[in-house]
């Protein structure tokens, strides 16, 4: 999959990334061997619940877990150079410049005692040799770009004078200050109202079109990824359990956890009578993750040997994917054919129990 996708370049390639934190209770396996890539002008949606490792993996990309005593292995290739082996000052030159990040909570990401404009100027001056007056002009342009009304006046406002949506716009402006090649957005709209969220998402899409950035969009919200992502990686307990084009993940998902997520959220486009099917249990401990397939204790389709065998992320397509297709990888011990039959039943409105009966006894895969 190193081949360019639809003619675009690989901006970021993460290979077998592992991040562990030693703790009083044992080693926390926050990220447990993930591989993905992001292409210029495209958006990878990373979906997962709290504790799935989605945030830690991107903080590590920016070197932000170094000080927390994280043990990191694998490779993070940004335009060919491995960010994990880069010395701190080289990384600092890339961070905020070529790679930018937007965090969930815009209030705690802005310094309350500095004017918004001053913080933008700082972001610009940190990476460019420009006068402060020029940087201030640029800051006003940026605020205008992200749709803040009356930017020439607002540039001198303090963060508390901004509404939640405006703060997040200011954060986006700061992230875009140096026209990054890669934008990592971690739940950027979770704290916002729906109407504001819709504006921010539209803004991100527009800016991506104009600047051609690659975006990693981290979220727990399937509706948001449906709208934003070209490719999706579903994470569970520190691993990617399924990855494919967004269209495929929604139309033909193959991992029981992905099914669980899709069936457990109320959707405006589903019949109202359709009962939600919760995923039983709770997300697992990352200190002592379940044996075998990490999802097996919550999986309605788990077979006895799934508690022993650890599934690898493998292609579920027959043959090679088309050149402009990202492929479809699934880490599941069920046979691909069984998975497809189960999803057909689930998509038709069956509960997991009904789907199991309909599909009938199935052979465990090798």
């Amino acid at each position: 999959m190193t081949q360019a996708l639809g003619g675009s370049d690989v901006v970021l390639r993460v290979e077998d990334l592992r991040v562990e934190f030693p703790s009083e209770d044992g080693v926390v396996h926050a990220v447990d061997g993930i591989t993905y890539e992001v292409h210029s002008g495209r958006t990878l949606g990373i979906v997962g619940e709290s504790g799935s490792g989605k945030t830690v993996s991107s903080l590590t990309t920016l070197g932000l877990t170094r000080r927390q005593g994280a043990r990191v292995s694998g490779r993070i290739l940004f335009e060919g150079q491995d960010l994990l082996t880069l010395p701190e000052e080289r990384l600092r030159a890339i961070r905020g410049n070529e790679i930018a990040m937007i965090f969930q909570d815009p209030l705690s990401s802005l310094h309350p005692l500095y004017r918004v404009g001053a913080q933008l100027v700082e972001a610009v001056c940190a990476h460019r040799d420009v006068s402060r007056a020029k940087a201030r002009e640029h800051a006003i342009e940026l605020l205008d770009l992200v749709g803040i009304p009356d930017p020439a006046r607002r540039v001198d406002a303090y963060p508390h004078e901004f509404s939640g949506g405006m703060r997040q716009r200011a954060m986006i402006a700061m992230a875009l200050a140096n026209e990054p090649k890669l934008l990592i957005a971690d739940e950027p709209t979770t704290a916002l109202d729906v109407t504001v969220q819709a504006q921010i998402l539209a803004l991100m899409e527009r800016l991506q079109r104009e600047l051609g950035m690659a975006i990693v969009f981290i979220t727990h919200d399937l509706g948001v990824v449906a709208e934003m992502a070209d490719e999706i990686a579903v994470m569970y307990a520190g691993r990617i359990v399924e990855t494919a084009s967004a269209a495929r993940v929604f139309a033909a998902p193959e991992h029981p956890y992905t099914w669980g997520l899709l069936k457990s959220i109320p959707r405006l486009d589903a019949p109202r009578e359709q009962e939600l099917v919760p995923i039983p249990g709770a997300p697992p401990s990352l200190i002592r993750p379940p044996s075998g397939c990490h999802f097996h204790p919550r999986c309605p389709y788990a077979q006895p040997d799934h508690a022993r065998v650890d599934p690898a992320l493998a292609s579920s397509l027959e043959g090679e994917p088309a050149a402009d297709e990202p492929g479809h990888l699934v880490a599941c011990l069920l046979h691909a054919d069984v998975r497809r039959r189960l999803w057909r039943q689930l998509a038709a409105g069956d509960t997991p129990e009904q789907a199991l009966v309909a599909v009938g006894p199935f052979q465990e895969s090798a």
Binding site: S8, S40, G41, V194, T195, V196, G223, V224
Partner: protein
């Protein structure tokens, strides 16, 4: 009191918070109209939803009905009684019949109390079930009702996951057999895979126990799943109040339409340019 009478009737309910200037000689310079003349009814056994964005007044409305805040104007009638200005023992008696489930299952449970004493606290407050054995049996019955293992009676909140904590909150709210349950954003702090557990629990309990539910949320999809009728609030006012089918099938108010159009995954104006 006929069973057709609505359980809750709210007329022209208003809450203004004063804006003051000065530290010593405070003077009122204006007012935030948090709730600005709302009227609605909640039928017995019905689930009424209030949906709206931050600051629209939906939580303030709930607090006014619970009498956690005093209304600036308007009337609240509960179970045929005017309760807007009740005080003291009369208010306490009414509070037994309405209970609230809060948004954050982490901060709404005292970390130093066992689950048993948290769920049993309403009995202590109202001087009911003084016999320890009897109280424990009742608490364990409640735990079973909400799908908790009764053996976990002596555990502490930190030993439970977010979804289980929300069940504890539901069990506590059900303890006194309330007629009205107010749920303010009950799932928005929970993980996606857990939300459905709590939503289905509330739906199931409502059907089984014939509860009346006031369900407050910012999430239009969740409200559609849960509620029979829905009030859309904006800036302290109800802009539209309609049945589930009407509101989602043919929304009338422009603001309702804007809200619905903003739900991600529904807007389908995705870009088609790749690379």
């Amino acid at each position: 009191m006929s069973p057709e009478e609505p359980l809750v009737r709210v007329r022209n309910l208003t809450k203004h918070f004063p804006i003051t200037r000065g530290t010593i000689f405070q003077r009122k310079v204006g007012a935030v109209r948090a709730v600005d003349g709302v009227s609605f009814e909640i039928g017995r056994g019905e689930t009424l939803g209030i949906v709206g964005e931050t600051g629209c007044g939906k939580s303030t409305t709930a607090k006014l009905i619970m009498r956690l805040l005093d209304a600036s104007a308007g009337e609240i009638e509960f179970d045929g009684r005017e309760i807007t200005r009740l005080q003291g023992p009369a208010l306490k008696a009414v509070r037994r019949e309405m209970q609230m489930i809060f948004q954050d299952p982490y901060s709404s449970l005292n970390p130093r109390k066992t689950i048993g004493s948290i769920i049993g606290e309403p009995f202590a407050i109202h001087g009911l079930l003084a016999d320890r054995g009897e109280r424990k049996r009742e608490v364990q019955r409640l735990m079973e009702t909400v799908g908790l293992n009764p053996e976990h009676y002596n555990r502490y909140p930190h030993e439970f996951s977010g979804g289980q904590r929300q069940r504890i909150g539901v069990a506590r709210a059900l303890a006194l057999g309330p007629k009205l349950l107010i749920a303010d954003e009950p799932v928005s702090a929970l993980d996606v895979s857990i939300q459905a557990q709590v939503l289905n629990l509330l739906r199931d309990l409502q059907r089984r126990l014939g509860l009346t539910l006031l369900f407050i949320s910012h999430d239009l999809s969740v409200v559609r799943y849960m509620c029979d009728r829905i009030a859309v609030m904006r800036a302290g006012k109800i802009v539209e109040l309609a049945s589930n089918e009407e509101l989602y099938g043919s929304p009338r108010d422009p603001y309702t339409r804007e809200l619905l159009a903003s739900v991600p995954g529904v807007r389908r104006d995705r870009r088609t340019i790749h690379g």
